[in-house]
Amino acid sequence: MIESLLSPIYRIIALLPFESLQAGFMQRAVLEILLLTPLCALCGSLVVQYRMAFFSDAVAHSAFTGVALGLVLGVDPWLAVIVFGLGTGMAAIQLRRRGEMAMDTTLGVLFSTAVALGLAIISTRKGLAKTLPGFLYGDILAIGDRDVFLTAVLLVGTIAFLLRFYNQLVYTSLHEHLARISGIRTSWLETAFAALLALVVAFSIRAVGILLVTALLVIPSATARNIAGSLRRQVWFAILIAIASGLTGLAASLTWDMATGAAMILCASGCFLVSLFTRPAIGK
């Protein structure tokens, strides 16, 4: 059923004048990029606003434990990554709310514990270590129809959530008390966004891997922030930069036979560098 839903889109992608796009795995990769990069750019504008890059890194690195537990317990490791990532995100938010430790200290503890636990479990089982590179670097070319479909569902859900709550989230990031006085339930909203972000991070690991997932969220938005004169432009610039970097990275990885995730991030980093030099010229 999923295949029949996606096949008309694949056929459209195949019409593009590139020979490589005749292959099924390339059509899936292109569609995944077209879905995942705007998703990350939308969330990324809030990640930059909330200074949540380290949160995203902690959730991504918790995937070590998720993978290990999944493999040991005989559960789909990707499902385990999502569940464990969500759990880590919620734990971080609860610890922060108790306010006994600074957020970066809390995340530092969670981050290191999750990585150590995952590596400890993997090291006790012979043969598990060889599964790690797939999670560390990701592989968008190996993505399946089900993954593409799930990314589409997550994108639709994220857009629906942000259509309703984006303004309130930014308002809360600017001054939580001011937002609360204007009637926003800030605590619920931040928890909901942290849960959404944990899901987006866990889903993005497939494409770019644990090590680079935060870059996919942060770099397009940071680049757009350098050149945009309003939040509205920043969001749209970030989406365009993310899609362009994704597609250019995919083409570059085929041309020079390198990891696609890394190539996508390098393209985004190139845009960031250009934006740094452009910034003074546009008065930012």
């Binding site: 504008s45 984006y166 303004n167 309130q168 600017l174 008390h177 309003s230």
Partner: protein, 265 residues
Amino acid sequence: MIPSPAIVLTGVSVAAGQNVILEHIDAQIMRGCITALIGPNGAGKTTLLQAILGLRPYSGRIEFVTPEGKPHKPRIGYVPQSLEIDRQASVTVLEFFAFEFQRRPVWVGITAKARENAVSALERLEAGHLLDRPLGRLSGGEMQRVLLAMALHRDPEILFLDEPVSGVDIAGGHLFCDVLESLSSRQNRTIVMVSHDLSVVSQHASHVLCLNRTIACQGEAPEVLTSENLLQIYGLHSGLYEHSPARHQTCTHHHDHAHHEAGHD
């Protein structure tokens, strides 16, 4: 006419874990007056403001009352010290207002109604030219005017300000306080401000509430801002040097010039 209380605090205490920040505060905030919460660093001024605003838990009672003394839920305006924003942030003043005026996310577009409301709120404070400026690029005084415009658009009966002129230049500070006085005297709004700046307090507040974990003193500004009280609260010799003969504010306001003389507040 003797002003009636707008807020009555009875036995209010606030603690953070084992640490008692405020203890047994009994006080009245008068309607139509500018009341200043003063005290040394760590005295609990901002904590009391947050407790009154319902932003942090407390024990005791905080009641908003009508002139007849009946419980009442007033419209509240709040002007924080500043926003958590860095210079590179691209959120504009218009977008900031849109967060209040529209549900549609700003990246989809700003509604005509939201723009209209933002323009009228800013123009009221002669700040219409700031509409399209990024928030991160505003000066301290401009930011205060934007935050005040935002607070006033709700037509608040009680306006709370947290260190309203900190980080604002002297001229900007006077301009800001003149607006507050006009709000209080002409529109009969109740204003509560936290301030560490005794020159601002002496010129613009009609009532003063001195905190140092408990209420150290309270009452009309001329009676409270004495050398003895300031010595008791701040621990060092402090005084107010006045350029012109003292003419402190009452709930119908005037203006004079005074400077905080002591090196410690």
